[in-house]
Every structure is written in structure tokens, then in C-alpha cells.
């Protein structure tokens, strides 16, 4: 992959082929001792859906927290590398300034404001945009998610998991992001709802041209809607490529999609082999 030549930053001069987000050799340490990201690099091209996959503890969530500036709330810090968003180095900016520049994160576990109504949750999502724009943004979100419009006076804490996830995404959209980051949108949801959520992500990507970076445990689903995929292992990217190719990659098939080469049950010898291969990966 050849990156674009380093061009002088001119506001609004982004073309279709540029990367909206670039992470270079990012290193993140928690509590001054725990090295979680060890030289992570990835790029999210504008207008695409990029899936970030990997097993538990690989550093996926940490990556998104680093990009959205939430690390200080968890005693984490970026010790090396840089995060370039829309041609600007945002590595040292605080969370609020990043949201203003168009970086929105939908946190793992939904994190809706439980005691607020749906309407108030959405208003909070548009906090920094001022009074005038909020009405138009509300119309847009209610247009995309008509179900929320019907329930706008309901207290968010009493919604079902699927409804809360939709609300969380809708709330993130209220900030009119350029890049929407989703941390495990399918967490704890029934398979049918997972399908809905992913169909919705695909729809906003296609309709609004919104760039999406999504973390998923459900690798198969994520690779179905994604244009590109990155696979993380122990704080760095070990595999990357076009989503379709990744889906056909034998290692990915075996480790992340749960499909054996031969099918059927694995023998003990194969398991040892599997572990060795995975370690190498």
C-alpha cells in the first residue's frame, strides 16, 4: 500500500481517495506500566466501513478510546505515535475538541443516559452544535430511526438492549460526525437485532457517505458490511486487507470465523498446531 504523499494541509481539500483517519505507530500505556498498544498503524479511507477485529484484550477498544481522547479518564496515555484526522494531528487534543472536529464514538455497552428521555439523550448528543441546528439534526435522526420518534418521551434506561443501541448510534449521529466509531454494536443483542444494527450501519454509510470504523467480536457479520478489515493481535495489526479477501483468508477463517479447513472436529494434534500457528500470527 502506498500512502498519499505528504501534502500541505488545505482545509476542505480532501478527495475521495484520502484517508480520513490515519494512526501511525501508536503506543498506549495504562497506569504507566501496562503496554496495550505497541506500534499500531491503520488507515480509514473516507466513505468506507472499516472493521477492526481481534480477540479479547487485543487492544481494539483502547484504539478507539485513544482516537476519541478518552484515555485520560482511564489512566491511559499515548506515549508514542500519532493520530491524524482529516489532515490534522489530533493526538494531543481533548475529547471535546475531537468531537467538534467530527470524531464520534459510540461506546461499548451502549452507555445511554439512563435517567434521561430519548429526546433528551439526543439533545445531549448535539450539545456543542448550538440551539439552531438541533432541530434539523433531530429530524434527520428521527427520519432514520422512526421507532425512536414514537418513543421520544420514554426514559432511556427502560428501553430494550436493541433500542438502546439504536439510541446510542442515533445520539452519536446528532453530533454530525465525519467518522463514526462503533465499539461492539452487537454486544448482548439477539441475532435478529444484530442483523438490524449492521443493516443500519450499512445504510447510513451508503446514504450519508458516513465513514465508519467498527470493532466487532462477530467477525463474520462485520466483514460482510465492511470494505476493509484490520485484524489485531496483542496491540498491533497482524493482518489487513479488503474485507472480501480477509473473509477468504484461511487463517482468518480458522481463527476468527470459526471455520476449519476440513470441517468436523479437531484432533489434539491439530489443536497444538493451531496454537503454534496462532502464536506465530
Amino acid at each position: 500500500m502506498t500512502g498519499p504523499a505528504v501534502a500541505p494541509v488545505v482545509a476542505g481539500s480532501t478527495t475521495a481517495t484520502t484517508d480520513l483517519l490515519t494512526i501511525n505507530n501508536l503506543e498506549v500505556i495504562y497506569d504507566d506500566v501496562i503496554l496495550v498498544l505497541r506500534g499500531l498503524s491503520l488507515a480509514v479511507p473516507a466513505g468506507q466501513i472499516v472493521a477492526l477485529l481481534g480477540s479479547n484484550g487485543a487492544g481494539k477498544s483502547t484504539t478507539l478510546k485513544a482516537v476519541s481522547g478518552l484515555l485520560p479518564t482511564e489512566h491511559g496515555e499515548v506515549t508514542d505515535g500519532s493520530i491524524i484526522f482529516d489532515g490534522e494531528d489530533v493526538t494531543r487534543l481533548d475529547a471535546a475538541s475531537r468531537v467538534k472536529r467530527g470524531l464520534s464514538l459510540c461506546m461499548e455497552g451502549r452507555h445511554v443516559f439512563e435517567h434521561l428521555t430519548i429526546y433528551e439523550n439526543l439533545v445531549a448528543g448535539a450539545y456543542f452544535r448550538g440551539r439552531a441546528d438541533t432541530a434539523a439534526d433531530l429530524d434527520m435522526v428521527f427520519d432514520l430511526l422512526p421507532k425512536l420518534a414514537d418513543m421520544r418521551a420514554r426514559i432511556a434506561g427502560y428501553l430494550s438492549g436493541g433500542e438502546q443501541q439504536m439510541l446510542a448510534i442515533g445520539r452519536a449521529l446528532m453530533a454530525r460526525p465525519k467518522l463514526l466509531m462503533l465499539d461492539e454494536p452487537s454486544l448482548g443483542l439477539a441475532p435478529l437485532l444484530v442483523q438490524d444494527i449492521f443493516a443500519f450501519i450499512k445504510r447510513i454509510n451508503a446514504q450519508m457517505g458516513l465513514t465508519v470504523l467498527v470493532i466487532e467480536q462477530n467477525a463474520r457479520r462485520a466483514l460482510e458490511i465492511a470494505d476493509r478489515g484490520y485484524i489485531m493481535e496483542q496491540g498491533r495489526v497482524v493482518l489487513e486487507g479488503v474485507a472480501d479477501e480477509l473473509r477468504d483468508n484461511p487463517d482468518v477463517k480458522e481463527f476468527y470465523l470459526g471455520l476449519g479447513e476440513s470441517g468436523g472436529r479437531k484432533s489434539f494434534r491439530e489443536v497444538k498446531h493451531y496454537k503454534r500457528r496462532k502464536r506465530w500470527l
Binding site: 452507555h111 443516559f113 435517567h115 433528551e120 445531549a124 450539545y127 456543542f128
Partner: protein, 290 residues
């Protein structure tokens, strides 16, 4: 009967002022999880600042009020920025100790500039008496009820309608999620302290108008604890219910039983509530989905 009516009016007036002082306390606790033991001193500072502008500087009533609100806002902001913000992440106990220290400092500063004697302030609200349902009650108590109700309604509206109010409640609910919305948590903390100081100023001025500009105003802040424990530490409507309940209870006990007992009753309620419902009658329920 007429005795009953006048006790109700006196009780509601006390309760309205209590609700205003408790509102400031709840605002701070809800947004920042700080238990502010200096709430009574905020009332004291508010009353003396109004006294300074109204009596010493001879400003007209409106200007004096504006001056008072500005000083109270500044006080809230300074306290948050230089006293509480450096303590973010410290244990709850250290923070409580600091607010207790703050209360002594504020009281001492007021004594330094104004002494401990009672200050004369011409009444702001009319002191004439009117007849209500056969009982003659002072007009100023009725007006206090009306003013406090108006202020509380304005605050309630602020929390449900304005985006800053919604943002404050959002921060109270989930700080990390609020950060991802671009809500600046420190700014919300500052806003909570400023609003608490302003509501304390209004309570302090009303209280001073009913009694006098003196050091005892700070002691009134102590009854805030039974009020917020009754209403729930994080419930804005709870402050109104708690304030009015305690206000009425005190007046009834003092009218029908013994004025000395009336001083103790709020704390008996405090103990009883802590035994039965430790999170208050109106405290926000923890929503748990199963």
C-alpha cells in the same frame, strides 16, 4: 383554625427557602458527587453580598440583585476551580473535609469584613399583614413562597429544556458517555457550583429579609441535610417535597408542641429516614434491566 392557617403559611415560607438551599446542595451532589458542607455559608455570603450592594452601596433593588447574582456566580466558579477541581480523584472523605474547611473560611471572611453584630437592612418585601381564610398572615411570607416557587420552576425548566441543563443531567448519569458527546465535564462542574451559589444567594436574601442579616443564616444551612436526605440527594423535585415537609413539620411542632422540640425534629426525621430508606424518598432509582 386561624392558628393552623398561619402555621401553614409560616411553614411553607420556611420550606420554600429550605428547598432553595437544598437545590444548590443537590445540584452539586448530582453533577460532581461532592457533598458540600459549606452550603449554609453560601447562604451567608449571599445575604451579606446583597446587603453590601443594597445598603452599603445604596444600589437600587434590581441592580443590587444583579450585583449579588454576579458575586455569587463568581464565588461558585472560584470555589470550583481552585478548591474542588484540584481534588478530582481524591477520596470522598478528603473532599468532605475540604468543604468543611471551606465553610469555616467563608464564615471567617464574612466576620472579618462585617463583624458578628446584626446588620440593619430595610425590608425588601412588604411587611403588612393580609387576611387569608380568616387568618391574618404577613404578606412577606406569602411573597417568599411565590418567589421561591418561581425560582424553583425556572430551575426545573432549565434542567429539562435547555441544552446546558440536559448536559448537566447527562454528566450526572454517565461522565464518559458525556465526554464522547463533546460535553466538557469541568465546565459542567463549574456551572453546577455557580448555579448552587446563585440559588443559595436567593435563599440567603429571602431568609435575611424574614429575619435579619446575621451570622445565624449559616446555621440554617444545617437543616439542608434532613431536607436532602428526605428528598433524595440527587433529586431536584425531592428538594421541594423535602423542604416543604421539614418547613411545615417545624412550624407545627413549634406551634402545637414546643418550640425547642421543633429544632430537633428535622434531625429525628433524618435519623428515621436513614433507617428506613437510606437513598431518600425521591432519590433516583438505579435502573437495572434484567
Amino acid at each position: 383554625m386561624s392558628n393552623f392557617i398561619s402555621l401553614v403559611v409560616y411553614g411553607l415560607a420556611d420550606g420554600a427557602i429550605l428547598a432553595l438551599s437544598a437545590l444548590g446542595f443537590v445540584l452539586i451532589y448530582k453533577s460532581t458527587r461532592v457533598i458540600n458542607f459549606a452550603q449554609g455559608e453560601f447562604l451567608l455570603v449571599g445575604a451579606y453580598m446583597f446587603y453590601t450592594s443594597f445598603v452599603l452601596l445604596r444600589l437600587p433593588l434590581i441592580l443590587a440583585t444583579v450585583f449579588g447574582v454576579l458575586v455569587a456566580t463568581a464565588l461558585g466558579l472560584v470555589v470550583e476551580r481552585f478548591v474542588l477541581r484540584p481534588l478530582i480523584g481524591e477520596s470522598a472523605l478528603s473532599v468532605i473535609m475540604v468543604t468543611i474547611g471551606l465553610s469555616s473560611v467563608l464564615k471567617a471572611v464574612i466576620q472579618l469584613f462585617f463583624g458578628t453584630s446584626v446588620r440593619e437592612q430595610p425590608p425588601i418585601l412588604p411587611t403588612s399583614r393580609v387576611s387569608v381564610l380568616g387568618a391574618t398572615v404577613p404578606l412577606n411570607r406569602l411573597l417568599v413562597i411565590v418567589i421561591a416557587a418561581g425560582v424553583l420552576a425556572a430551575f426545573t425548566r432549565f434542567f429539562t429544556r435547555s441544552r446546558h441543563g440536559v448536559a448537566m443531567r447527562a454528566v450526572a448519569d454517565d461522565q464518559q458517555a458525556a465526554l464522547t458527546m463533546g460535553i466538557s465535564v469541568p465546565r459542567v462542574f463549574a456551572m453546577a457550583w455557580a448555579l448552587a451559589a446563585v440559588s443559595a444567594l436567593i435563599a440567603g436574601v429571602l431568609l435575611a429579609d424574614l429575619s435579619a442579616v446575621e451570622q445565624n443564616i449559616a446555621n440554617f444551612g444545617l437543616i439542608v441535610f434532613p431536607v436532602v436526605i428526605l428528598g433524595g440527594l440527587d433529586s431536584v423535585p425531592g428538594t421541594i417535597v423535602g423542604g416543604l415537609t421539614i418547613g411545615l413539620l417545624k412550624q407545627f411542632v413549634s406551634g402545637y408542641a414546643d418550640p425547642g422540640l421543633a429544632e430537633v425534629v428535622p434531625y429525628l426525621v433524618l435519623v428515621a429516614i436513614l433507617l428506613v430508606r437510606p437513598y431518600g424518598v425521591f432519590g433516583e432509582t438505579r435502573i437495572e434491566r434484567v
